[in-house]
Amino acid sequence: MEFLEKNAIYIVMIIVLIVWAGIFFYLLNLDKRIKNVEKEIGDKK
């Protein structure tokens, strides 16, 4: 903890990593949802 307080840049790094993980899993989810829609449209043909 003391290390992080002295080197604040690592806190920024952790925050950016969390934001990236959030964006990434959102995209992953969106990808799955679009694939499901693709299947449904394919079935109706």
Binding site: W20, L30, I34
Partner: protein, 235 residues
């Protein structure tokens, strides 16, 4: 699926390296970046700002390619692909402008100073902003696709000039300007191998991310149009 895990780890690593790797006077270890006079810690922006500009170029290039494709084959799916690419292009263009302005506040002293680089990206935003205005003003799908394809092809002719040529032949504040002593392609602008490696990894990561977002974008447009047509046929 493997490339998605690869992308996650790649951009994760670039974030760690780009933010936390130290800048030192005499880089020895593989994780140390060189001290660049006049840029200092600000130099780290290159790992995140330059890729956004790079994505802008790829996206607008793909808009032009799929516009040509549309004019040849008259397939509305190509128009959807061009549209999704242009959307991402303008988003990343705005990101490049904003991140550049924030950086400029601390590197040059002001958010905006009409540097050749800033002027040219502003012109680019206007040109592609007009493209979206053009699209939204036409009702008929085919007519909209044809007209915006022609515009997108002509608009792309200006992109290499605004992004690669004009800011390099004019004097300015942006690294790589004509009066910059390290002038030339951004790649050899006093980066050492470690910095170049992280820089290229970042470019690769952002490019993969762009293609993923683009695929999701055009697929959702194509399926929406398909469903709309099914509804019309049934109704």
């Amino acid at each position: 699926m493997i490339w998605k895990i690869f992308l996650f780890l790649l951009l994760g690593f670039v974030s760690v390296a780009g933010i936390a790797f130290p800048i030192v006077e005499n880089p020895q270890a593989w994780y140390e970046f060189p001290f660049i006079k006049g840029l200092e810690e600000n130099a780290k922006i290159i790992f995140f700002h330059v890729p956004t500009a790079w994505i802008t170029v790829i996206a607008f290039l793909m808009t032009a390619i799929y516009s040509i494709q549309y004019l040849r084959k008259k397939n509305l799916d190509d128009d959807a692909k061009a549209y999704a690419a242009a959307q991402l292009g303008i988003i990343f263009c705005i990101l490049a402008t904003v991140t550049g302005a924030v950086w400029a506040r601390f590197a040059w002293g002001a958010f905006w100073s009409w540097d050749p680089r800033q002027t040219s990206i502003f012109a680019l935003l206007l040109i592609y902003g007009a493209w979206f205005a053009l699209r939204s003003s036409i009702e008929s799908e085919e007519k909209r696709a044809t007209l915006s394809s022609v515009y997108a092809i002509i608009a792309f002719v200006t992109v290499p000039f605004f992004i690669f040529i004009m800011p390099r032949i004019m004097t300015g504040l942006h690294p790589g300007s004509a009066d910059d002593t390290n002038a030339g392609p951004v790649i050899d602008f006093k980066m050492n191998e470690n910095m170049q490696l992280i820089f290229f990894l970042s470019l690769i990561g952002f490019t993969i991310l762009y293609f993923w977002m683009w695929k999701l974008g055009y697929k959702s447009i194509i399926y929406r149009d398909k469903l709309n047509k099914q509804l019309i046929i049934r109704g």
